[in-house]
Amino acid sequence: MGRIWSLFFLLVPILGTITIVAAPYYDHWLPKDVSAEGYQVDHLFNFILWITGIVFIGTEVALFWFMWKYDAEKNDQPAKYTHGSHHLEIVWTLLPAVTLLFMAIYQMNAWAEHKIKKPQVAPLAEVTARQFEWRIRYPGPDGKFDTPDDIYDVNLLVVPVDEVVLINLRSMDVLHSFFLPNLRVKQDALPGRVIPVWFRAVEQGDYDLVCAELCGWGHYKMKGRLRVVSREEYEAHLQKLSREQEATQ
């Protein structure tokens, strides 16, 4: 029976690896990235995937092999009477320690790009989350918020392609999270705080804006859209919004 059990455990690395290798081909993996900086996230993900993948296969296969080889029914050797090995302990402490430390340092820059090095541009829009919608406000022609020419919209954020976009993220009520899966952007919105979020979209199109922090019963339907368009279309869109707004006032 021990043989069968070990083969049963061998299924874990085999099926586990096949699944991960196949997943991207079925689009059950990191979604398409349309941002300038998102590749850093994906690169790091894949880098960690390689390292952990090797460890995963190595340890799971070792588990299988030891189960196979040291099955009491098949193995006529006596059990090894050993309490451990200093050398081995040192090796398998230091080796992962160095690898992990390297990983930690290696990723710091990507984090800084995404969350620390705030770009020196004027905010393009203010996004205020509330149960259960995204309120968008553009500063209007004067480039300033809280002036009469501010332009308002709901659930649709339009941004120009190939430009660094800075958003001021707020919340009116509870926590929400501003999640753009195709741009590798996620940031919680906090009431009472203005949090900067930035990205640069490199491909025109419509993308999901997802609320990723539980905000109440309607959390699931707190859906917005990010529309990436050319500079001209962007400006035309703002003018159209502005005209509509004046018409209703």
Binding site: M67, N75, K80, A104, Q107, M172, S177, D188
Partner: protein, 598 residues
């Protein structure tokens, strides 16, 4: 064996048989009875928590489709279809019950209680009355949780993490008025229970070890329980304070966690002046150590089982102890990894990233030592051993996925997605729950003096192992695709619509996983009454509990246990047999062996 019956009569015969029954089996002071009470209560909650999980899975596979059978009963107004606020209650209560009523109390309350005195050679716990109370304060907690389903608006719906303002301001969650407050009280009571247990375990382990039982002769299970008790003692006060602050915010209108200017339904809500992030810091300062509270005892149990059934000493005993201590110590400075996206200062994120990455190290060391323990052994594939090996196999996955999330830039993508859900189910179900099943198979003979059925135990193992991977492995994939957790219907997002079929696969696996547990419960209850009787040491194991009668009577040992060596002396050249119990005198003293034969 007849000694047992006599010893149960230890309870003073001053009163009626009814009172005596109550004292022996209900308000018992005996750590074994209390442990078994914890065991059955937590298994009961496991069933409830599991049913809630199936509710979640139903909605994710067939959104808005009427629930079969119970739908019409529960939601007559909606034609049997689950309303979204009910979905939020489902995942909130599923997690709360599994964490606070199953995993934590089954390890510390059930196994800790039963095993600590037996494994260190004590008669009972240091404070039997506190011990009894630690079980009985679980009942107010149970009642709060059950009652919350029936109050107006229903149960808590702000997630097990209960982030304010959602959890603090009633207007923010009309679906949960009194329910959220009851939830807070329930968790406070669980905390009291854990604290009563914690002081008791620490004192017992420090003070009541049998002669010769030095700290470094204690089995890993005891080390796991000991360090868990220390973690509880340091972390729980912080959670309790935070829970009380939230209760005050909800009931007396204080403003610890609600900032100025929260507008709900066009009206100012909450007292203002508080900080939502403060809650997150306090909550995770407890709840990160709590994830280790939920696994360190399981790691200890696995170490014991693996060594016993490899017939080989545990590889690297001291490194294993230091690894547990290291995990516990580092565990206090990593809580911020749950808050990378929270709006906390991003520089702080970097330091938490560093500590979190380093905490993977002791976990790796433990895994290597388990592998090295079975290397060169003579493995006996009992049901308990299979579960323990299953733990190792699954913990590898859960530990490795942790590294992805520890990497802050990667966490941008996967935070609050199903990737996280995959991670913690691999460590908690694949890890802790498998260890619990293994532990039940392993110690059942000691608890009840009967064997569980090995064949059905293995069938249960195979099915559980297959279906748990069927449920949780694909969560890595959909998580990487950004599939968010806690959404009643994610499929109306363009990015997630194509993930419906794989979710249906997961749900079918979950249903089968649930059904497989019937085998376990059948085996458990059948064996309780009709399992074959066993002697003291059916597994030929070394640690002290195996030299006590099965089941041990009141006072545990029918001789004074004296400990001569560590618990892992399997295949020692000093003796002919392949085991060498901790109480067996060394050969030169063997003539005066005093351990009674069974």
């Amino acid at each position: 064996m007849s000694a047992t019956v006599a010893e149960h009569g230890h309870v003073e015969r001053t009163s009626s048989p009814v009172l005596e029954f109550l004292r022996t089996y209900v308000f018992s002071l005996d750590h074994k009875v209390i442990g078994i009470q914890f065991l059955f209560s937590t298994l009961f909650w496991l069933v409830i928590g599991g049913l809630l999980a199936l509710g979640i899975r139903w909605q994710l596979a067939w959104p808005w489709t009427p629930l079969p059978v119970i739908g019409k009963l529960l939601f007559p107004a909606e034609g049997g279809q689950m309303p979204p606020e009910f979905y939020t209650m489902l995942f909130t209560m599923h997690a709360s019950i599994m964490i606070f009523f199953v995993v934590i109390p089954i390890l510390a309350g059930a196994f800790g209680n039963f095993l600590i005195p037996l494994m260190i050679g004590a008669e009972d716990m240091a404070f039997p009355v506190l011990n009894m109370l630690s079980y009985w304060v679980m009942w107010p907690a149970f009642i709060c949780m059950i009652a919350s389903f029936f109050v107006e608006g229903g149960a808590a719906a702000a997630g097990w993490t209960a982030y304010p303002p959602l959890s603090a301001v009633e207007a923010a969650a009309p679906a949960s008025g009194a329910g959220q407050t009851l939830w807070l009280w329930g968790v406070i009571f669980v905390g009291i229970s854990s604290m009563l247990g914690s002081v008791n375990y620490m004192t017992t382990i420090i003070q009541m070890r049998a002669p010769g039982m030095t700290l470094f002769r204690m089995p890993m299970t005891i080390w796991g329980m000991f360090i868990t008790a220390i973690l509880q003692a340091f972390a729980l006060p912080v959670l309790t304070a935070a829970l009380f602050m939230l209760v005050l915010d909800r009931t007396l209108g204080t403003g610890f966690f609600v900032p100025e200017g929260v507008i709900i339904n066009n009206a100012q809500a909450g007292a203002g002046g508080g900080q939502p992030l403060l809650w997150q810091h306090l909550f995770w300062f407890y709840s990160h150590p709590a994830v280790y509270i939920m696994i360190l005892p399981a790691m200890g149990m696995v170490s014991d089982i693996v060594s016993t059934f490899s017939r080989k000493p545990l590889f690297g005993y001291k490194p294993m102890v230091f690894a547990i201590a290291g995990i516990a110590g580092l565990g206090f400075i990593v809580w911020g990894h749950h808050m990378f996206m929270s709006g906390m200062n991003p520089y702080l994120g970097l330091t938490f990233m560093l500590s979190t990455i380093m905490i993977a190290l002791p976990s790796a060391v433990k895994t290597f030592n388990w592998l090295a323990t079975i290397w060169g052994g003579r493995i006996q594939f009992t049901a308990a051993m299979l579960f323990a090996l299953g733990f190792v196999s699954m913990f590898i996955i859960g530990g490795l996925s942790g590294i992805f999330m520890a990497a802050t830039p990667v966490d941008i993508m996967i935070h609050d997605t199903y990737y996280i859900v995959a991670h913690f189910h691999y460590v908690l179900f694949g890890g802790t729950m498998l260890a619990v099943f293994g532990g039940i198979h392993y110690w059942f003979p000691k608890m009840f003096g009967r064997m569980m059925n090995e064949f059905w135990g293995k069938v249960h193992f195979v099915l559980t192992f297959i279906f748990l991977n069927g449920v949780f492995y694909p969560m890595h994939l959909v998580g990487a695709a950004g599939f968010p957790r806690r959404l009643a219907d994610p499929y109306h997002y363009e990015a997630f619509a194509h993930l419906l079929p794989i979710n249906q696969f997961m749900t079918i696996s979950a249903i089968l996983l649930g059904l497989s547990q019937l085998i376990f419960f059948g085996n458990l209850f059948y064996s309780l009454f009709w399992g074959p009787r066993v002697g003291r040491n059916p597994w030929k194991a070394n640690s002290l509990e195996w030299s006590a009668p099965s089941p041990p009577g009141h006072g545990n040992f029918d001789f004074q246990p004296i400990v001569y060596r560590g618990p892992y002396e399997y295949s020692s050249p000093e003796v002919d047999e392949d085991y060498y119990p901790q109480v067996q005198p060394p050969p030169e003293k063997a003539k005066v062996a005093e351990q009674p034969a069974d």
